[in-house]
Amino acid sequence: MVSYRTPLGRARGLGSAMQGAGHWVSERVSAIALVPLVLWAIYGVLRLAAGDYGFAVHWIQDPLNATLTALTLAISFWHMQSGMRVIVEDYIHKALSKSALLLVNLFVCWLAGALAIFSILKVALSGGAL
């Protein structure tokens, strides 16, 4: 098979990392999952906004609400981490700033996502501080 790479390109060793399609597909898959989940979440926010703490605890104790809320948050944090990563990669070109921002993005999404899902499980399983 003929290689079309230039000698300079071969020496630098840069090129496709064979991972681009995976990131692209995961962004689309999470987007498709979020369409129904987010519409459901808007309905949930409308109901929660009209209720108090007791209503929210009761609402999140429903297994369907707890599961869909946790899934909406988990997939949202996954999706927004992917989206913000592309924005950083598009606009920030200094290696150090780019790496730092990508790490902050990754850690913020994982930390907030983990805190949110742990909190939901805690209330759903314990019944809150009623």
Binding site: R28, A31, I32, L34, V35, V38, L39, I42, L46, R47, L48, A49, A50, D52, Y53, A56, V57, I60, T69, L73, S76, F77, M80, G83, M84, I87, V108, A112, G113, L115, A116, I117, F118, S119, I120, K122, V123, G128, A129, L130
Partner: protein, 143 residues
């Protein structure tokens, strides 16, 4: 070598945002598809903050009735309502425009006429859905 006067036209410039420095007229007319593209990123960034607010809701709920009441009072204040209105607009815009992108990814509607038309549809949907949700919120005592 020649005495003929040189043509005094401007040399051609490669496409960029402005014709001749700061304050000069823009070379590119703003197309509706440019707005729909940049607003997809802008609404995505807004929803990044929105997801952090959703996480704060879950944490406040787990911290008990007092913290939950504080959280609800913060979101129910006027600045909180402005933020929530912006997030409603962002979520419906990003949702509709995301579906538009998925249709493009499937290989449909990427010609100029369809792209312009779908951008109008997405803007109209985002505005209408936002007003509808806030109307429902007002009627159900969510405000």
């Amino acid at each position: 070598m020649t005495d003929a006067p040189r043509p005094t036209r401007e040399p051609p410039v490669s496409p960029h945002l402005v014709t001749g420095g700061f304050g000069s007229p823009p070379l590119w007319r703003w197309h509706i598809t440019m707005w729909s593209s940049i607003l997809h990123r802008a609404s995505g960034c807004a929803l990044y903050v929105g997801a952090l607010i959703a996480a704060a809701w879950a944490i406040a709920l787990a911290q008990g009735p007092d913290r939950y009441a504080d959280f609800k009072a913060l979101l129910g204040s006027w600045p909180g309502k402005v933020v929530m209105f912006g997030l409603t607009l962002s979520v419906f815009y990003h949702l509709a425009n995301g579906v538009r992108h998925l249709v493009w990814d499937a290989g449909h509607g990427f010609d100029l006429k369809s792209a312009n038309a779908s951008a109008v549809v997405v803007f109209a949907f985002a505005a209408a859905a936002t007003l509808a949700v806030w109307g429902i919120a007002g009627m159900t005592g969510a405000l």
